[in-house]
Symmetry: C2
């Protein structure tokens, strides 16, 4: 049963520009869903007569939003880095932690050692928590394998998540996440491995290719080589760009017409304008700043540049073990200078655009019927009650979860 009539909605966020305001809010709204797709949206008083036979869901006057789209996660991983996290809170540097065997390479080691089933089970728990927080589409990256077999294993896990759970999963190949220890003396050989054998194996399992382009990871030239090799195999580009310093990665992302450039802590105004012209979406990740106690990128400046803005959790075991998009919306509104309206739009419509999915992130005729019903009268409660579980119910493709 994936046809449904949702009524008695207090404030209905449609993101439909035809309805006025950024969020196109309909008061006392209703949504009619046929076969998992939105058939009609509007004020309940205007409902056409055709929907009398549908299953009916009473929203009880609550706010309804498009399902959240989380366009940047690393949720397939093994291991536990809470102890490393606590050490950093006590003042240890990341370099000291790396030297003691911590950091991302400890996650690589644990992920290589874990079986596909173990990875799948741990990731499944994370996806269910995301669903409970209203995420209905999630991007998931590889990148803790850094060898052909483990990168492929991670992407098989991503495919199993997509097949088995009521969420749409977008797979991204991130073989160029960080240089693995065994290639420390020969980085060119690793880039060639990624561009050749690894992409041959992983490309068919992925929709996007991402590269961590940074002084501590891959140069802009290496990034270009990898993303061009991926493009030949039909993968669109995403880039971890200018997070730790300005290396020109956001500019490269625009140059390659990448779907997104993510992080952007050090992107310049000119970089943002170049991205805007190329249609490259800016994916902001406030949970990293929160968890790492770093300055937040200026979301206000990014938004005002005219580039399309998206929000994501960056869910990962090192720098942001965060799963809730409402929490990310709260952080963006409280700490990045976005208004609550802009943050909600970025976490739904902006995020969908960053994944090149035009059929979601808004509630309009023919869109995928992904809805979040809040336990609150308006979306303003998301930053107002930052620790609350405000998601009362989730509708995925017309099915109430």
């Amino acid at each position: 049963m994936n046809s449904l009539f949702v009524f008695n909605i207090g404030a209905l966020v449609t993101n439909d520009p035809g309805r006025g305001g950024l969020l196109g809010v309909v008061q006392e709204g209703a949504v009619a869903i046929i076969d998992g797709v939105i058939d009609w949206v509007g004020p309940e008083a205007d409902t056409p007569a055709d929907y009398g036979d549908l299953l009916r869901l009473d929203a009880g006057g609550a706010a309804v939003l498009p399902g959240f789209v989380d366009p940047h996660t690393h949720l397939v991983f093994a291991g536990d880095r809470s102890d490393e996290f606590a050490r950093r809170l006590r003042g240890e540097s990341y370099e000291e932690i790396l030297a003691a065997g911590g950091g991302i390479l400890s996650t690589v080691e644990a992920t290589r050692s874990a079986s596909e089933d173990e990875l799948y089970e741990a990731a499944t728990e994370r996806v269910w928590r995301m669903l409970a927080n209203g995420t209905t589409t999630v991007e998931v990256k590889s990148g803790y394998g850094l060898d052909v077999a483990t990168e492929e294993k991670m992407l098989r896990v991503v495919a199993r998540l997509e097949e088995s759970l009521p969420i749409d999963v977008v797979p991204t190949f991130l073989g160029a996440h960080v240089l693995p220890a065994e290639y420390r003396e020969d980085r060119n050989a690793y880039v060639e491995l990624v561009c050749g054998e690894m992409l041959d194996a992983c490309g068919p399992l992925a929709r996007f290719c991402d590269v961590f382009s940074d002084e501590a990871a891959f140069t802009v030239d290496e990034t270009r080589r990898i993303l061009e090799a991926a493009k030949e195999r039909g993968l669109d580009a995403r880039v971890h760009a200018d997070q730790l310093g300005r290396v020109g990665a956001a500019h490269l992302a625009a140059d390659l017409s990448a779907a997104s450039a993510d992080h952007l802590d050090h992107a310049t105004d000119e970089d943002l304008l170049t991205m805007r012209a190329a249609g490259t979406v800016a994916v902001l990740l406030p949970a990293v700043s929160f968890s790492m106690r770093l300055p937040y990128p200026d979301g206000r400046r990014v938004w005002d540049s005219g580039v399309t803005v998206a929000l994501a959790t960056d869910c990962n075991p090192g720098t942001a073990y965060v799963e809730s998009m409402p929490f990310v919306v709260a952080l963006a509104a409280l700490n990045m200078g976005l208004t609550p309206d802009e943050a909600v739009w970025a976490a739904t419509r902006g995020s969908a655009r960053s994944l090149k999915l035009d059929d979601r992130g808004h509630l309009v005729r023919d869109a995928v019927a992904d809805l979040v019903i809040l336990d609150a009268p308006t979306h303003l409660h998301i930053p107002y009650r930052p620790d609350a579980d405000l998601v009362a119910a989730v509708v995925k493709s017309g099915v109430v979860l």
Copy 2:
């Protein structure tokens, strides 16, 4: 059934100084509870033979903590200030909002208009969410009435919460929260009302008396008058102290041997030493800084002064609509310079001390058997996963909720 044997605990936080370290962690621990009180705590391998007949709860290797104690809340209120919150995020000043009829006085108006049942029902929902987040003792203040009838009504609601819900509720009279509009021209008359008729009516319903001592609220002299009048009626003192500026309220709290001085954003080192000597506990409220986007008080400095530190949500509709003590622990560790261990201690043992409750906040023989079972192997996951619902189960006075 309030006798119970909890076993297969991974890391058991006892806060027992006899067990070493700040948190007195027992690995592979167990807890035996008889008639709602702790009878025995220790490594499971050392369990005495006497507990074979008890109901048994398998913690599945998870961490177990003392129940959280939340020693500063304003959770009885009516009205919704999410719109005001969003306006502040867009840059409006509190003064502009006050002038437009917002701010605390709008909560006073809504609370005066609400029936006792309406207040009770809204507060009950908040308390259940607190319980779900592991709070087993909560202090609740009046202070949105500012007239005798409404202050009394609020404290009757607090008494009903205590009677009807599986949580211990500590009532605090806060008639001197802010000057009501109708006394703007005659503040002395309001102070006399508080010290006389209001305390006569409310004193018997309260354990503590609190005053918001600040330039925007009550002077240090007024605070002293009110707290001394309360003391004559058997109420111990708490003080909202030096939040917006240094007015000498923390010093006064120490001078009056107050149970706590709360906020303390502007307290000096000397104030803290005076509090330490007097045994006045410092209650820190990081959710206010988070929600109001203000600098955090330096928890490190407060802790290092030697004063006893507690943590609280300050749950209220204006400056911190936060209910989760784990979220407060995460904020304190991430933003106030406390270690995760110190933050957990402050949210349990420190908070219990601030309420003069020596029988809780630690897991030792004869303590109230309030336990939190985490969905995590150690308490370090609380700051590591700041948005996660990490409370798997709560035991209140030996009963599994």
